[in-house]
């Protein structure tokens, strides 16, 4: 198997579960607060801003003003002050945080803000003797809530489904890569799986239990020599890569076996085509529980239950595949003769053998009969007789 293909497979195998379980998580939630006197658009803007960790709940717990607003010299505004869609000019004092959402903050020379100054989109300007005791933050515009966000549950389901389908598409592509590069090895693994699934599961289970002890033992043995100590980090990396490579090869072998069982080889399909057909069919079948789990994203309990089932199925397939991969020495030998010499991989599902039909039978052998020249006479010899 090509190194790049192996690495790509490993990455996909590692990333897939996390990607599939990624869910949208609500941002910061603030205590509910009545926003009297504000338009629905400004209320939505405030809600959105309060969910932003850079702004926080202080956006809600504040005096709200729409449009341009000024704190005059000598005036003191107690608490937080939020201006929506306008410029906030401070010539007096604000005892809390002063912010302009989708607007600018201007602090004149006599202006004083005891808290933070936050400006979304249009920045802040401070006169040389203007004072801000807290932090000055400027950030991008706060985008209003969109229908896509408001119907987040549906969007989340669609996204999960798309992501799951995309990941299985990637796995199929990777499987094709392995098929092209190491089709024979995968076929040997598949054949070993077909010879006895339970035995492969047992071997795979034992191998999983032995993974850590073998790694520890390897490190201990390497630590016996000075050069070995230096090699320990490399040995650990190589070990992990090798194990993941075996898992991927075994998993793809298991997928191919499932596909071969579901879709028997057709007569017109070539050997490689049959393997590809098995791989795609098996991958599609194994993706079904994952797709169901993704479709149930809006019902977390069901989604988790189906996701666990899908995970279990995938784990069994990987375990059996690992066992078969070990039994075939990484797909390099037949499972029936693992210590024997290398032989070509067995073909996939055998072609159906049909009896020859009567119309094609002929008593005349096509080869091996010497043709005898027929004697001929000429008219001249006849006249001489």
């Amino acid at each position: 198997m090509a190194a790049h293909t192996t690495l790509a497979l490993l990455a996909a195998a590692l990333l897939l579960p996390g990607a599939l379980h990624a869910q949208t998580v609500p941002a910061t939630s603030c205590p509910r607060r009545e926003l009297a006197g504000l338009s629905s658009a400004h209320a939505a803007l405030l809600k959105r801003a309060s969910e932003d960790p850079i702004i926080g709940c202080s956006a809600l717990d504040a005096t709200h003003k729409s449009g341009d607003f000024s704190v005059a010299a000598g005036d003191t505004l107690r608490g937080n002050l939020v201006v929506l869609d306008g410029t906030l000019r401070i010539t007096g004092t604000v005892t809390g945080t002063a912010m302009a959402l989708n607007g600018a903050v201007v602090i004149d020379s006599s202006g004083h803000v005891l808290g933070d100054v936050i400006s979304a989109e249009h920045g802040a300007a401070i006169a040389p003797s203007g004072r801000v005791d807290g932090e000055l933050r400027t950030l991008d515009a706060i985008e209003p809530l969109t229908p896509d966000v408001q119907v987040g549950a549906v969007g989340g389901t669609i996204t999960s489904l798309t992501r799951t389908a995309a990941w299985f598409g990637i796995l199929i592509l990777l499987g094709i890569g392995v098929l092209i590069n190491s089709g024979d090895a995968m076929q040997r693994v598949t054949t070993a799986l077909q010879s006895g699934f339970a035995r492969n599961v047992m071997v795979g289970l034992l191998a999983q239990m032995a993974l850590l002890p073998v790694l520890v033992l390897t490190c201990v043995l390497l630590a016996l020599t000075l050069i070995g100590i230096l090699l320990i980090p490399f040995a650990i990396v190589a070990y992990v890569v090798a194990v993941l490579g075996l898992l991927v090869l075994g998993g793809l072998g298991a997928v191919q076996m499932v596909g071969a069982g579901l879709a028997p080889r057709r007569r017109a399909v070539s050997e490689r085509g049959a393997r590809l057909q098995s791989l795609v069919t098996g991958m599609l079948l194994l993706s079904v529980p994952w797709l169901i789990a993704a479709a149930l994203t809006s019902i977390p309990i069901l989604s988790a239950a189906v996701g666990t089932l899908a995970l279990g199925i995938t784990w069994v397939a990987l375990t059996a595949g690992l066992g078969a991969t070990l039994r075939t020495r990484g797909g390099t030998r037949s499972h029936e003769d693992p210590w024997g010499v290398r032989r070509p991989a067995p073909s996939g599902t055998p072609l159906p053998v049909e009896a020859p039909k009567a119309e094609w039978l002929t008593p005349t052998p096509l080869t091996g009969v010497v043709a005898v020249k027929r004697p001929t006479t000429t008219s001249g010899s006849r006249s001489a007789r």
Partner: protein, 288 residues
């Protein structure tokens, strides 16, 4: 029956992949700063998880100015100012367990994390930087540093002093991992001691600059190569101890046991003593 052909399958797979919502790689920009109210010393700590970090000096009337560009998969940058203890902690580049505002963006820009920090020229600072897996370009020219510490993980770090430090620095500390470290103009740092600990990355130290006092440099490395470049105006002494380390010197040196000493060492007004402990690596000393 039709023959199954990869050309029939490929478009389907490609369509599936392209169907992935590569939409909305949402990247935000946050600029934060704090006005400098007095010129008292401040301990500043910068913590960056992944991404790139650049640090420089600023003439603006701020203690700091931070510009962070970050993707949805990162937490929002934070800042903590303790007025009583005069400590400032800025963080960025931390992976987010929860999404921020854009909940519709499942496909995030994983690579977007760029952090630029400008620090005041007007107050003495003790600067500590934790850059776990971030490439760091630290131009400390003009920042009055009393102490400096860098903890770097897998990424590379470059530290430079292009002009003399206006404060006397007690210790310059750097712990670097696999990414390596490059120090430029260490004569300008005005440090009394430089301590560098590396694992496998290469360490390059340029001792150029305007020297004001003697310096002791201790470098500990496991695998990485160590390269030290010194100007001819200073006296330099290299003591190298290591299991399999080997030294390579270029310049006018005397060799005595494990010690290499420049011929101008005794006469020089500035003396730099370098102690290298390397398990397996090449130590290069050049004086030109």
């Amino acid at each position: 029956m039709r023959r199954m052909n990869i050309r029939r399958v490929a478009p389907l797979l490609l369509a599936t992949l392209v169907g992935t919502p590569l939409l909305a790689q949402h990247v935000r920009t946050l600029e934060s700063s704090r006005l400098l109210n007095d010129a008292g010393p401040v301990a500043v700590r910068l913590q960056l998880g992944t991404g790139t970090l650049s640090v420089g000096a600023s003439d603006a009337p701020y203690l700091y100015r931070s510009i962070t560009r970050f993707g949805d998969s990162y937490s929002a940058p934070t800042s903590t100012w303790n007025a009583a203890q005069r400590t400032l902690t800025l963080t960025a580049g931390q992976r987010s367990a929860a999404r921020t505002v854009r909940r519709d963006d499942d496909q995030t820009d994983e690579s977007a994390q760029d952090w630029r920090v400008q620090l005041t020229r007007s107050a003495p600072l003790e600067l500590m930087i934790d850059a776990t897996a971030a490439d760091a370009a630290l131009d400390l020219t003009g920042i009055p540093l009393r102490r400096f510490a860098l903890n770097s993980g897998a990424a590379a770090a470059t530290v430079r002093f292009d002009a003399p430090n206006t404060e006397a620095m007690s210790v310059f500390d750097a712990n670097v991992g696999a990414g390596g470290l490059k120090l430029i103009g260490m004569g300008n740092a005005d440090a009394s001691e430089v301590r560098i600990a590396g694992d496998v990355g290469d360490i390059a130290i340029d001792l150029g600059g305007r020297w004001q006092r003697d310096l002791r440099v201790v470098v500990t490395s496991v695998f990485g190569g160590i390269s030290i470049t010194a100007p001819p105006t200073i006296g330099i002494e290299l003591e190298s101890t290591g299991l399999l380390a080997r030294e390579n010197v270029d310049g006018s040196f005397r060799h005595d046991g494990d010690t290499w000493r420049s011929t101008n060492f005794d006469a020089s007004s500035v003396k730099v003593r370098v102690l290298v402990r390397s398990l397996l690596g090449k130590v290069t000393l050049i004086q030109r």
